[in-house]
């Protein structure tokens, strides 16, 4: 445990040093990132040890706050979440140093570097805190640090708006969590997680719902996800990477931790999680398809992947409910493994998006194009990330989705309509998500990196510096390695699942081994396929060697003067799918086709507003505003009457107390 605390101290120390050396950008960025890298690596030691051995490390001390205590513990679940957090933060720190130096003339870099380290420290504390009060404090530190990171470019109105939406959303979530912990506190005399044992059965349902909403806001479950598409494009890219890659996973962590506290699950919990999962997954990817901004698109993909993770958890929970070892193990393993995988590939994709933004000064997809020639490293790493997120073998995204598929396909749920429905929902949902994700990333990669530049921005793109390149390459290698060695990874996840599922370690191991062997076939086949492709490429290379190769334009359909603006745009690529799902997306397409015989210049744009923002949150907030405006006469500006309010309140309290 002392390694963990030393890591925490070094991270915070680096942050504070960078804050105070903010006027010297070089030193500031040095201290900040070195603190994060060294501190993170030190904290990684106990995390990996616990992950592989399954033992728990704990440290406890008194705290004078009611119900509070300084109780930290690293168990297998914490360790499993700590590892991606630390690794991604370390890599993004390398990237962020160079990324932020581009702002050195305009900004004080000490501020974002400090909050970056604070965010890391807060998240580390969230996953190891084992006391309700401590957890809430760590949770708030995390939310507020990330708010200051989101509003880094506060001089842009859109960024301020995004920051505000994020802050409000985060605190709505926290409000639910506070109620959650208050109810828990009413159950016993301590909020230490190991002392919460007997929660009365009448309350568990409420607690579960509170946790789903409270943690769901952070994780980005479908109707609650509104902050993601605003905050991710606004934040600096390495911050989006860690926010999307690991911060939203703390929501999943909280939910998982809650499930371990609340005892055996009734059936409707499983249903709730699965339905949330499928809705978030399908709607997330559909909205992603309709986006024009690369980072916004990636933000919606985070919603989609959170959906997949939640589906996995739902399936695992169903396994617990009906006592099916296979379903339990594969569901939880799939969901949790996807947590790790998503951290890697979504981190990679956001870093890639940052590189594009850095090189082209825009992230509007329809303004880009042809970047594979100008930014080859970014292109190849982005391609790997895109393949992984679409769930194609042998990369890591495939491995975790495959586990969920396998669990549902080889289910021993028995006969019955309910179970058939579940199978159809999960398998159908996953397949739909996979297909749409593939379409979406074909669009994104194809339009951004292939073809010809569509604007000056893309024309003058330049490749990123060595640090940014290196961090993207590490993550790309991570995607491949986690995929190829996925059988090994999932067998080593046995302690995590043992902490979640009420099962014998040996039974878990046996189930994981079967899954690992079927996964192994796929990996071997894909490797075979890849080597065949490599041999063919080699043959092509050998055949062409020594011969002259001429490059020419693509067949231009007989147009005399094709311009780059005649290329397929991202919008037109997505149009068939967007039209197919227009009952969900409600994309607006103002028709401004030229009518005259000699058409004049005209414009066309599509606009997909977020459904839950428009139909759920806007009316709700307008309603609150209306109600509150009824009470505005209370705010009249007379100091004396304000003091009278206070005096009256005190009086009433006093009388009430004396009664």
């Amino acid at each position: 445990m002392s390694f963990f605390f030393w890591g925490l101290i070094i991270i915070l120390g680096g942050g504070v040093l960078s804050l105070f050396s903010g006027h010297k950008p070089k030193w500031s960025s040095f201290w900040g990132s070195v603190g994060a890298i060294i501190g993170g690596s030190i904290a990684l030691v106990p995390a990996t040890k616990v992950f592989f051995s399954g033992q728990t490390l704990s440290w406890r001390s008194n705290w004078s706050v009611p119900f509070g205590s300084f109780f930290f513990q690293i168990d297998a679940i914490s360790a499993f979440f700590l590892i991606p957090i630390l690794v991604l933060f370390i890599i993004a720190a390398i990237y962020g140093r160079e990324y932020l130096l581009a702002y050195r003339d305009r900004k004080n870099l000490g501020v974002p570097l400090f909050f970056y380290n604070l965010l890391l420290a807060g998240m580390m504390a969230v996953v190891v805190a084992r006391n309700g009060m401590l957890f809430l404090v760590a949770w708030e530190v995390m939310s507020i640090a990330s708010f200051f990171l989101v509003t880094f470019e506060y001089e842009r109105p859109a960024v301020r708006q995004a920051g505000l939406i994020y802050l409000v959303a985060a605190h709505i979530g926290t409000a639910f969590l506070i109620v959650f912990f208050i109810l828990l506190a009413g159950q016993g005399d301590s909020l230490d997680f190991d002392r919460i044992t007997a929660v009365s059965p009448s309350l568990t349902g409420t607690l579960f719902l509170l946790a789903v909403v409270g943690f769901g806001v952070k994780a980005g479950f479908m109707p609650l996800h509104v902050w993601l598409p605003h905050a991710h494009p606004a934040a600096p890219s390495h911050v989006s990477a860690v926010m999307s890659g690991v911060m939203i996973k703390t929501g999943i962590y909280g939910l998982v931790r809650t499930l371990t506290l609340l005892g055996p699950p009734p059936a409707w919990w499983c249903w709730t999680l699965m339905i949330i999962g499928v809705t978030s997954g399908v709607l997330g990817v559909l909205f992603a398809l309709a986006q024009h901004d690369l980072k916004r698109l990636l933000a919606y993909h985070s919603v989609e992947n959170i959906g997949i993770i939640t589906m996995g958890l739902g399936v695992g929970l169903l396994g617990v409910h009906i006592h099916s070892p296979m379903l339990t193990v594969l569901g939880f393993a799939g969901g949790l493994f996807h947590v790790m995988n998503h951290a890697v590939f979504k981190g990679l994709l956001f870093l890639g998006a940052g590189a594009v933004l850095h090189g082209c000064k825009t992230s509007h997809i329809d303004l880009l194009g042809g970047l594979s020639k100008r930014m080859p490293w970014t292109a190849i790493t982005f391609l790997i990330g895109a393949t992984a997120i679409s769930g194609l073998p042998p990369l890591n995204g495939f491995a975790s989705e495959f586990l969920i598929y396998l669990g549902v396909f080889r289910n021993d749920m028995g006969e019955g309509l309910n179970h058939a429905i579940i199978a159809i929902i999960i398998i159908g949902g996953l397949a739909l998500i996979g297909g749409l994700a593939l379409a979406c990333f074909t669009k994104a990669f194809g339009v951004i990196f292939l073809g010809l530049p569509r604007s000056d921005h893309a024309e003058h793109a330049h490749e990123t510096g060595p640090g940014m390149k290196a961090s993207m390459l590490i993550l790309a290698a991570g995607c491949i390695l986690l995929g190829v060695f996925s059988p090994l990874v999932i067998t080593s996840m046995r302690h995590v699942i043992a902490a979640l599922a009420p099962m014998e370690l040996s039974a878990i191991q046996a189930n994981l081994a079967t899954a690992a062997s079927s996964l192994g076939y796929f990996v071997k086949m894909s490797l075979l396929f890849a080597s065949v492709a490599a041999i063919l490429a080699l043959v092509r290379f050998l055949l062409l060697r020594g011969r002259s190769v001429r490059q020419s334009v693509t067949w231009d359909c007989g147009y005399a003067r094709p311009t780059s603006r005649m290329q397929y745009t991202a919008t037109s690529f997505a149009q068939p799918l967007v039209d197919l799902f227009r009952f969900l997306l409600r994309t607006r397409k103002p028709d401004s086709r030229p009518q005259e015989l000699f058409p004049a210049a005209t414009t066309f744009h599509t606009d997909t507003e977020d459904g839950s923002e428009k139909y759920l949150f806007k009316p709700a907030f307008m309603g609150i505003r209306w109600v509150l405006s009824r009470w505005q006469w209370l705010q009249h500006g007379r100091v004396q009457l304000y003091i009278l309010y206070i005096a009256l309140t005190l009086w009433i309290l006093l009388i009430w107390k004396l009664m």
């Binding site: 705010q635 009249h636 500006g637 007379r638 100091v639 004396q640 009457l641 003091i643 009278l644 005096a647 006093l654 004396l658």
Partner: protein, 206 residues
Amino acid sequence: MILLVLVNLMLLGLSRLRTCIRVVAIQGVMLGVLPLILNGWRPEPHLISFSLVIIGLKGIVFPAILIKLLRDLKEHREVEPFIGFGTSMAAGVVMLVVSLAFGAHLPLPGTAASSLVAPVAFFTIMTGLFLIISRKKALTQVLGYLVLENGISCFGAILVEKQPTQIELGILLDVFVAVFVMGIAIFHINREFDHIDTDKLTRLRT
């Protein structure tokens, strides 16, 4: 004790600002002596030094600051109440009755030296609040605040054995800073708007 009550009632009825400040000063001096009385005139070093600090601050420093402020502002020397002086006095009597009724019921730690102390302290606090609420001038609000604080330290005097002197001194320091800050704020309000009438500050709200 009775004197304190009378002083409070007097404050409610006074119309001249300068006299008000003097009366608050007298109240401060009385409070400074109070711990000594309650302790039965046994001179203990910490009590004496404590009384001296209170008398020095409340009896001399605060009134000096306020009177200087009053002179600098060249304001009308009137109190300008929302609630008339007669009504204020009547309200004061009602408050006195209420606080006597309450004072008997308040659960106090330890035994009070005099059964009147708690009700009087209570009455002083209420008078302070009433002054803040019912007068227009920002300066009278500072006065009200001081009276309120006097009530609180009167409560403190009950517990003088139990309560560590540090806490008492801490409160005193708070008040000291507060009077300074409010003095400066009033000075700025006056320079900005040419008056210190809080009634006319309603336009500042958003």
